[in-house]
């Protein structure tokens, strides 16, 4: 599908009429968001392909904004009567004078991601074979691999946005993702390894051995962890792995820079614009345009073209992440971060691909300088309280660092700390940059985000483990 401009889901004339109808009782802003989503998922467990599921969602959401208040309604279906119903429901709570929308100005066709192989055109049998190959590869990694589960999913999401400010924009997004979990068992010890592969790409992303490599890596992690010791507890230097280790930055800084948190007083980064929060070498971005990555889109879900926003430069906070509403409130421009899970949700400021820019050191150098510390390669997930900045992360793969070398694997570790403290304690970033797939939950909505970084070292962080 490369180079094909996105086809709008509805006629601009109809879109304009619906937006006008939404404003018939007044309002500062109205928007129609139309969506058509179709997908397939398939999994393998106990070496048996199962869980085949197809789904299609078609519908629209209409919002009317007046002052600080948003009235929103969503309906299934894109027929004219459905759209009118949504517009009427959104307008029902207002009682002012009709407002006139600006004429629609179709924006230049956005540059779509290159999709080499449309996943919908690949047979289900081929996808089942891919899962069987993952199963065999992971089981072949060692006799102690006791279970393998793998899941494949693909989705195509087409959207069209029309607003009273004249926006008329469409996007066509295809995403493919594979996740593999391997469980290794030795006597009473059970450990798991988990790996994912995904992007705003076509089926090509899982071909040519890429799926099998993902499975092998999951199995290797599970096998390695069989030798794990209880994790240490206490404050120590921590080296965070590249790629998925970036979820730490996503949680401890990315969320705090989302403008809705800032405006509500629920962020530790309030008043920090231009202020130093990290050592001068630190640079970080939110980048919705990284080619083929999981959090990449041509436009956001309000029709604003995505872009690369530096959020930290020379150790100073340089930007907050905006959608249209929060930008209007601050007299700023949207940074293309207005995202929504579906037409059933309101857009809010969300990250796209958020990462610490690569440094120059080799990952080994970061570790070699640590006498006694912890190496957190990958996380099972994490949570941060945006107001206080307190965070906690479950480490899914971690090791002790002793005498500058990675030694025993550890189980049951968590990292616990405070965002600003820890950001200031990043004392080295390595060059091995990589972006991985994540699902970010916020306000009851889940959106695909890319997380990434090279290896990062934090001079001191609390490790919570069972070894007291």
């Amino acid at each position: 599908m490369p180079g094909r401009p996105p086809e709008p889901l509805l006629d601009p004339e109809l879109a304009r009429r619906i937006v006008g109808r939404a404003l018939r009782n007044g309002g500062d802003f109205a928007e129609l968001f139309c969506e058509e989503r179709s997908g397939l998922s398939l999994s393998i467990d106990e070496s048996r392909v199962e869980g085949a599921q197809r789904g299609a969602d078609v519908g629209a959401g209409v919002r009317v904004v007046i002052g600080e208040t948003t009235y929103f309604a969503h309906v299934d279906g894109l027929a004219e009567a459905d759209l009118e119903r949504a517009a009427d429901a959104a307008a029902a709570a207002l009682s002012g004078e009709r407002a006139e929308p600006a004429p629609l100005e179709p924006t230049a066709a956005p540059e779509l991601q290159e999709i080499e192989t449309d996943p919908a055109a690949v047979s289900a049998e081929r996808k089942a074979e891919l899962l069987r190959a993952c199963d065999e590869t992971a089981r072949g990694a060692g006799g102690e691999v006791a279970q393998v589960q793998a899941g494949y999913s693909e989705a195509r999401r087409r959207i069209t946005v029309a607003s009273s400010e004249g926006t008329f924009a469409s996007d066509d997004r295809t995403r493919v993702r594979l996740g593999v979990q391997a469980v290794a068992r030795r006597d009473g010890t059970v450990e798991t390894g988990f790996e994912t592969l995904g992007g705003h790409r076509g089926f090509e992303i899982v071909e040519d051995g890429a799926a099998e490599a993902t499975a092998a890596k999951a199995a290797r992690t599970a096998l390695t962890l069989l030798d794990a010791q209880p994790a240490p507890a206490g404050a120590m230097p921590v080296v965070v792995g590249g790629g998925f280790g970036g979820v730490l930055f996503h949680e401890m800084t990315g969320h705090g820079l989302e403008a809705d948190h800032i405006q509500k007083g629920a962020s530790v980064y309030i008043g920090k614009l231009g202020e130093p929060v990290a050592q001068p070498f630190l640079v970080a971005y939110d980048d919705g345009r990284l080619p083929g990555e999981w959090g990449t889109d041509a436009i956001d879900d309000e029709g604003t073209p995505t872009r690369r926003t530096p959020v930290i430069e020379e150790g100073r906070i340089t930007a907050y992440l905006y959608d249209l509403l929060r930008a209007r409130k601050d007299g700023a421009a949207s940074t293309g971060n207005g995202r929504r899970q579906s037409f059933r949700h309101l857009p809010i400021p969300r990250m796209t691909n958020t990462y610490i820019a690569p440094g120059e050191a080799e990952p080994e150098e970061l570790i070699a300088e640590v006498d006694r510390g912890f190496y957190a390669v990958s996380f099972a997930g994490g949570q941060v309280d945006p107001t206080t900045g307190d965070f906690v992360f479950g480490v899914s793969e971690g090791y002790l660092i002793e005498g500058g070398e990675v030694t025993s694997p550890c189980r049951g570790a968590t990292l616990i700390g405070n965002c600003l403290d820890v950001l200031g304690r990043i004392d080295a970033v390595a060059s091995d940059f990589e972006v991985r797939t994540g699902f970010c939950g916020k306000g009851g909505q889940s959106v695909p985000v890319g997380v990434g970084q090279g290896h990062v070292r934090i001079s001191e962080l609390t490790v919570g483990g069972t070894s007291v």
């Binding site: 299609a56 969503h74 709570a93 089942a128 059970v190 906690v392 919570g464 069972t466």
Partner: protein
């Protein structure tokens, strides 16, 4: 909304016409109102309406699922075709088959509160504003409220299958929650307050707001406690979160697939004697109650753990068939909506209350930690091995009484050790929407590892 049942029946016919040997259709129609309040103003008002169909098709012991929102003849045909095509993609599984009709379901009193419909949007708005106001007025140190949310839902579901399953029911639910931010001497803390019921009338705005204020202010001045092993009291919300996790690993699919630390332990002691845990899908007070489960099996009560002894696992029709030996579905085929196939899950968990008051639990603990919030439970527990380490906040317990606030620490153990270390269960239970839907009292664990300073 009575026309849902004919749609479900037509979908079953369409799947059979598309080549399915058996089929089961689940239809859902839901409307809802969500209000978000910020600084005494409406931030957003959402009118939600959705209606969809989920269809399972079986072809010679192969199951496929498809869903869609287009319920026209053509739309239903496409969903049916999708389900049959999905079934063709999977490997055969001898236990995969359409559930048989399992008898008549008993209606649950009060599942849909007729009073709920009488509430106008204006009254709901007043209630939501009152929740926020109550938190602000409860304590001067509450400096802000991060969004107050009020949600009111009404839904109808209908089920039909080629094996004679047929039924429908209506359900209403309502909840409100808010996060208060308190500040004193440069320290900021947050606290959650919530309430739930079948209609807005069941919500007490003062209690919800006050809870958020109390939880946030109680943590002001918190410091990191010393790392040690000590008794820990889990409050009702934290006990519920852990109960949800335990319920998950007692689901038969986890057990059969070797993903439960409690596999092969039926009849054995897996916890200490104060612990009795049941799943009850027919409890009128439970938010996840329904007359029948996602496959049409009438719901009821299953005692999972009786005085520490493991009595049962939770089943749907597939895991029961796979178990063999006369095992039956415990009516735990749960549906998250029409967009996903049913799978085994807890309905409402009920931890049997003990005899000690909250003060009694603290006295019994002596010196230890009182945990009022945990973070990262979903990522911090390994469901296979049962080991966990999660972030926590709360208060120290000193000389049998609550002492200084504490945060930024972890509690770590494994599920088996934790259950064996339960020393007492509190007398006052509360319905909590964490870990699914759980009726939970506070729980005293004799020993847990605290990771702090």
């Amino acid at each position: 909304m009575a026309e849902l049942e004919p749609i479900a029946e037509r979908a079953v016919e369409a799947a059979l016409a598309a080549g399915a040997g058996d089929a089961e259709a689940f239809c859902q129609d839901a409307t809802g109102l969500e209000l978000r309040i910020f600084e005494a103003e409406v931030e957003s008002l959402t009118e939600a309406g959705e209606r969809g169909l989920g269809l399972r098709a079986w072809l010679d012991h192969r199951a496929g699922y498809a869903y869609g929102t287009d319920l026209s003849e053509q739309g239903i045909r496409e969903i049916a075709g999708g389900a049959v095509e999905a079934a063709r993609a999977v490997d055969p599984d001898e236990h995969a088959a359409a559930p048989e009709a399992a008898g008549a379901a008993v209606p649950i009193p009060g599942l849909a509160d007729p009073e709920a419909a009488a509430w106008t949007t204006e009254r709901k708005l007043e209630l939501a504003l009152a929740v926020e106001r109550a938190a602000r007025e409860a304590d001067r140190r509450v400096i802000a409220i991060e969004t107050t949310v009020f949600v009111d839902d009404r839904g109808t579901v209908a089920l039909a299958s080629s094996r004679g399953v047929s039924g429908s029911f209506e359900i209403t639910s309502c909840y409100a929650y808010l996060q208060a931010i308190a500040e004193a001497d440069g320290d900021k803390q947050t606290g959650l307050g919530f309430g739930l019921g079948r209609s807005p009338a069941a919500l007490d705005p003062d209690a919800i707001g006050r809870e958020a204020a109390e939880r946030s202010t109680a943590l002001l001045g918190a410091t990191k406690p010393a790392s040690r092993t000590c008794p820990v009291v889990l409050d009702q919300t934290v006990a519920a979160s852990f109960a949800g996790f335990i319920g998950g690993v007692l689901c038969a699919d986890a057990v059969q697939r070797g993903r439960s630390p409690f596999a092969g332990r039926l009849g054995e002691e897996i916890g200490s004697s104060p612990l009795t845990l049941a799943d009850d899908g027919a409890d009128p007070a439970g938010l996840n109650s329904s007359p029948f489960d996602g496959e049409g099996t009438p719901t009821g009560r299953t005692t999972l753990i009786e005085a520490g002894r493991l009595g049962a696992y939770l089943h749907d029709s597939y895991t029961a068939r796979r178990e063999g030996g006369g095992a039956r579905s415990t009516a735990n085929a749960a549906r998250a909506g029409y967009r996903s196939a049913p799978s085994v899950s807890t309905s409402n968990l009920v931890i049997a209350p003990g005899e000690l008051s909250f003060e009694g639990l603290l006295r019994e603990a002596g010196d230890g930690m009182y945990v009022t919030d945990v973070a990262g439970l979903h990522s911090g527990v390994n469901p296979v091995s049962g080991t966990f380490s999660v972030g926590a906040s709360g208060r120290a317990i000193s000389g049998g009484e609550l002492a200084e606030p504490a945060d930024e620490f972890t509690i770590a153990s494994d599920l088996a050790s934790m259950l064996a270390a339960i020393r007492a269960v509190g007398a006052e239970a509360r319905w909590v929407p964490f870990g699914g839907s759980v009726s939970a009292p506070a729980i005293l664990i004799g020993e847990m590892a605290i990771g702090g300073a």
